[in-house]
């Protein structure tokens, strides 16, 4: 990698730059859009690489280190590659009481991954997530930010079957 390369804004796509600029327009200072900018990158790329981080920092007129401080603080910004599908299992108190551990056990059994791990075929990453505000429908998980409720071992099987069907279609 040449020395000038890594900080080029052009390592972001035009769509990414346009969406980030739209967010920037909501604030007095460009830095305020940092979290949303990282989410824009993540929407297109799944995660935020060093290269993307440096480009976003340049776009927002802040240092890459400062932006990395932000990126690593927020739990929904991923600084490492993740699988095609994010499974985020709620481990809040209500979901825990209603059996999120059994749901997790089923996921582990089916996919062979624990929290923070990605399946060998790169299809799934499993993460715990804080209370999702759906305690009346516990236990719940987010698959790619979409809420699945009243989960059970059978529910996980159905969810995995649906995911496989979606990706084959």
């Amino acid at each position: 990698m040449t020395d000038a390369q890594p900080t080029l804004i052009s390592s972001l796509s035009e769509a990414e730059i346009a969406e980030i600029r739209a967010e920037v327009s909501h604030y007095e200072y460009p830095q305020a859009a940092s979290i949303e900018a990282l989410k824009v990158v993540q929407k297109y790329r799944g995660w935020v690489s060093d290269e993307s981080l440096r480009a976003v920092a340049k776009l927002l007129e802040m240092s890459a280190e400062q932006l990395d401080g932000v990126a690593t603080f927020y739990s929904l910004i991923f600084r490492r590659p993740v699988g095609e599908n994010m499974l985020m299992l709620c481990d809040g108190i209500s979901c825990w009481m209603l059996g999120c551990e059994q749901v997790k056990a089923r996921i582990q059994e089916r996919l062979g991954i624990d929290y923070g791990e990605t399946s060998p075929d790169n299809k799934f990453t499993l993460l715990p997530v804080t209370c999702q505000g759906a305690c009346d429908r516990a236990p719940v998980l987010l698959k790619n930010m979409q809420l699945y409720t009243h989960l059970s071992a059978a529910g996980i099987d159905a969810l995995l079957a649906d995911t496989a069907a979606e990706q084959n279609s």
Binding site: H26, Y27, E28, Y29, Q31, A32, A33, S34, I35, E36, L38, K39, L60, G69, V70, F73, Y74, S75, L76, I77, D91, G92, I93, S94, W96, M97, L98, V129, T130, C131, Q132, G133, A134, C135, D136, R137, A138, L142, M145, Q146
Partner: protein, 483 residues
Amino acid sequence: MITRPLTRHIDLSRPPYDLAQYEDAGGYSGARKVITGMTPAEGLQLLKDSGLRGRGGAGFPTGMKWSFVPMDKDNKGDKDKKGDKDGDKAPRPKYIVANADEMEPGTFKDRLLMEGCPHLLVEGMLVGGYILQADIGYIFIRGEYVEAAQLLNAAIAECRKKGYLGKHILGGDWSFELHVHTSAGRYICGEETALLNSLEGKRATPRAKPPFPQVSGLWGKPTIVNNVETLCNLPPIIEHGADWFKQLSLTGDAGTKLYGVSGRVNNPGCWELPMGTTARTLIEEHAGGMCDGYQLKTFLPGGGSTPLLLPEHLDTPMDYTEIGKLGSRLGTGTMIVIDDQVDFIGALKNLEHFFSQESCGFCTPCRDGLPWVEKALDNLEHGRGSRADLDWLKRATWMLNMGNTFCAHAPGAMGPLESALKYFPDEFEQRLAQSAARRKSVTEQTAPPDSPLEAPLPNSPLKTHLPNSPLKTHLPNSPLKAP
């Protein structure tokens, strides 16, 4: 007479009202009334008279909180007086922020409001924005509430088109812009000063108070941060008045409240009911009672940071004042029911794990103390606890409490722990006894080959043979490496 001002337009079996439908149902009449017919000072006075208290957890009187925001002198009372002398103008821009970072464990009420009727929150922001003469509003919403954020953005776009947002709203002098800010996790963002740092695009560490955000908030400018439910109460208060709002309640704290029940009950859910409804009514009538075979052991009245209450407290009205008298807090009003078959220490550990993980790490008692609280509970849960663990938990309840930490995060974490130690000392003693028995059998017996007792005990005081022991012998380069 309207008895459910927050949820009357909500029907989850259909999409939420768009602007036209919402207006047909009487929507935006509160905003019209305040913007075209009242001065900001009159609006604020009405808010004070209504007795509305913040619905985010602390229950601070909203009108009083807002009265600290600097106002232009010509807005203080007389609408026609246009004084513009030096020092008469408030700093600009002024901001109003909706705290939609609903993340307190067991809380699921703001989601209902935003997914069920996004225009009510937008109208609440308009009413609040006008009363404060704010220039810009933000709805700070947690990253996981994707659907709510989409609905709010759609509602805002409709309002912009209609002229409810933008320049010279409803033909007056006041201009206001509103944006949705989607966050990316971290419970601490719900703390109002941490939220402001987050909104500025920084790590969400809380700020010192004073200065209070009303005077110096977002980018040092006057800022009000209020919970979604609080803001949603504004349009109906403006429309129907303070006396109407007060008579909605069964007790001294005004209005209705979104109450929720989760846990082992037949019909968990969230309902708008008169303030002061009792926990018994909530659990038995609305939540359909405990599930068969489960008994109520204890409950957290309003989210994961509210101290436990007992079955004997079921008939106390659930309002800020009465629950406060019991040494707990109404919090968010969404109750977590803990039944007799839950592993009690495990449940407590689940809560403390949450608080430990969500500490922003800025101040030492919280950053370093909470992981030790979790660890001590983990030791007790898994039968390797010692008296020192229990002593530490007791000590933590003052070391991590109000006055010793930078914000209310760790003190919030101590709420359930302190009340658990007070109400259920036997639960802790029982785990200690189990731990002692287990330790005894490990040391005195030679465990048979398949015994679970052969499993290594991480963190045990019996460290010599354990993987995490400082006496570990197999670490390359260890100073303690066996010869």
